[in-house]
């Protein structure tokens, strides 16, 4: 590239960049009129998505999920608890979502990010309530808490799921849920046996198989896995999988969670200046249905990739 040419490019680039910063809404609306987004995506298209299983060796199950630049690391640690009296055959799942200061310039140490508790609550609602609601009647949720039981009334698994946002660039909930689901499908439950004091300890290779409590239950059965898609509503346009910039310009988002049997798990529309017509909500659900198939394929591929290794 010639020198004069390069400087010419630079000046025009500067103008676009300045325009983008000064009039973000107009900048976006000009793109939307052409049915394209500044990053080259079609309106209904999500960003590239990858899943890497087993990213954390010190956890029992872990996954790194990336959608575009947004990166989440989820890890599960299994601990033993005494089950509650009212549910002696059930384990427990605790979900925490963290936004450490490394992930975004808006988060400072000691001052938790505004978004973190919201996403945390949404995740608990999606994964836990999903679990509870169904397990009362019959086993048809994502995880049957009865699968976490070890010794009835004495011991059960407590699964601590911690999700860390490593890089925040929009659609935090979608990526967090994907990493959580991937971590659960990677989870390998340790083999434990009862020791003399009545505590359960991990059976290592050398001390053989004496009184192993959970020989078969090494993997959690996952039925009806939830997947989600966040969309932005702006005038007649629907933008799937927004970036942080898009989220800050258009304030109305709709998050749809569907499970693998195509049932609606939840739908969030936390306020925002734009009102949602039933037709646009239906469009969001249709987009989520498509996205669910994509995400399921990506998850299946990462799982089968692990088995080959």
């Amino acid at each position: 590239m010639g020198y004069s040419n390069a400087s010419g490019d630079l000046s025009s680039e500067m103008e676009v960049d300045a325009f983008r910063r000064l009039f973000p809404l107009r900048f976006y609306e000009r793109h939307l009129a052409e049915l394209i987004r500044p990053d080259g995506r079609a309106l209904g298209k999500a960003r590239d998505t990858t899943i890497a299983l087993g990213a954390v060796a010190s956890a029992d199950g872990s996954a790194l999920a990336k959608i575009g630049l947004t990166t989440m690391l989820a890890a599960i640690k299994m601990e033993v608890m005494t089950p509650l009296k009212e549910s002696p055959d059930e384990g427990c799942i605790v979900i925490e979502f963290h936004m450490p200061p490394i992930c975004s310039p808006l988060v400072r140490p000691g001052r938790p990010a505004e978004a973190a508790p919201v996403v945390s609550k949404q995740l608990s609602d999606t994964i836990l309530r999903h679990v509870k609601h169904f397990s009362v009647r019959s086993f048809s949720g994502m995880i049957d808490l009865k699968d976490l039981s070890l010794v009835s009334g004495k011991a059960a698994w407590m699964a601590y799921l911690d999700i860390y946002c490593l890089d925040a660039d929009g659609s935090l909930f979608d990526v967090a849920l994907l990493s959580a689901v991937a971590a659960f499908s990677h989870l390998q439950i340790p083999v434990v046996s009862m020791n003399d004091e009545g505590k359960l300890i991990v059976v290592s290779e050398e001390n053989g198989e004496k009184d192993v409590v959970n020989k078969e239950k090494r993997k959690l059965r996952l039925n009806r896995i939830p997947f989600s898609l966040t969309c932005i509503l702006h005038k007649k346009y629907i933008l799937a999988d927004p970036t942080a910039e898009e989220e800050s310009i258009f304030e109305t988002v709709v998050t749809v969670v569907l499970d693998t049997s195509d049932q609606l798990v939840s739908l969030y529309k936390p306020g925002g200046p734009a009102l949602a017509f039933t037709s646009s909500v239906q469009d969001c659900i249709a987009l989520t249905k498509q996205r669910l198939k994509e995400l399921q394929t990506i998850l299946d591929e990462s799982i089968s990739g692990m088995e080959v290794d």
Binding site: S58, E79, P101, L166, P190
Partner: protein, 257 residues
């Protein structure tokens, strides 16, 4: 939180608790023993650095030494907190935190406050604070997995992240620690070795300037041992700085293309 069921019951980790007594191979002072990962006493773990781990940050780096994995993000120079007094020179603000799953037992990360101030002191001398008056540079570290020598890895990684953010420094800062196990010095100790150590020495330096920015010694050391340990660390630091520099060069040549 509404999502949580009742009061959470107390739990314990089923993994066998770390043995209180040293394994036999550490007891025999002169006998040949091998390190848990088969390294030589004066051999460091393979070091891996990559810049640009976090896009939202001005500069960032990921470092992996064996099982020790950390991410450091650098933000700024940006406006100092309102409460801060006027300052002719820039401010450096450091924070180190542990992911809950970083340690073998959940939520037992080391003293973050302590590490934060250690990181601050290790970097302070190397950064040209005059280049960003009235503003603050934030250095935030997250330990994803603790595998021993966490603080030295955080410090070296932070220095790469600062370079990635374009913050002016006199030199890269490299940090290495040695553990004293009975009569032997082992470099770049793992978590297991650190739990048995009789003493530890951590040295942070600017290898090209041959200047030490931080030196901490804990436990019982003889003067001769200290000399030996420092020499080991200095040699390792200069090698480590070469790896750090080549990572930065690679990133720079990659972005030019």
């Amino acid at each position: 939180m509404a999502g949580k069921a009742a009061p959470t019951p107390t739990t314990y980790s089923p993994s066998p608790t770390t043995q209180k007594t040293k394994p036999s191979f550490f007891k025999n002072h002169d006998a040949d023993w091998v390190r848990p990962d088969g390294r030589g006493f004066h051999q460091c773990r393979p070091a891996f650095f990559r810049t640009g781990a976090v896009n939202a940050a001005a500069g960032s780096a990921y470092a992996e030494f064996g099982n020790t994995k950390v991410i450091v993000s650098v933000f700024g120079p940006r406006e100092s907190k309102k409460a801060m007094m006027y300052s002719d020179i820039g401010r450096l603000n450091c924070n180190v935190s542990y992911a809950t799953f970083a340690t073998p037992v959940r939520g037992q990360g080391s003293d973050d406050e302590d590490f934060s101030s250690m990181l601050h002191k290790a970097l302070e001398g190397a950064i040209i604070l005059e280049t960003f008056p009235k503003t603050t540079v934030d250095v935030f570290a997250l330990v994803l997995e603790s595998g021993g020598s966490d603080l030295p890895v955080v410090i070296s990684c932070a220095s790469v992240a600062l370079a990635d953010a374009g913050i002016m420094m006199y030199d890269l800062v490299a940090s290495v620690s040695v553990s004293c196990l009975a009569k032997n010095l082992v470099i770049d100790p793992m978590l297991e070795e650190e739990s048995y150590q009789d003493g530890s020495l951590m040295l942070t330096c600017m290898p090209s300037k041959y200047e030490v920015t931080q030196l901490t010694i804990t436990g019982e050391w003889s003067a001769a041992k200290i000399n030996e340990g420092m020499q080991l660390c200095l040699d390792a630091c200069s090698k480590l700085a070469n790896i750090m520099r080549s990572c930065l060069k690679e990133a720079a040549s990659g972005s030019e293309e």
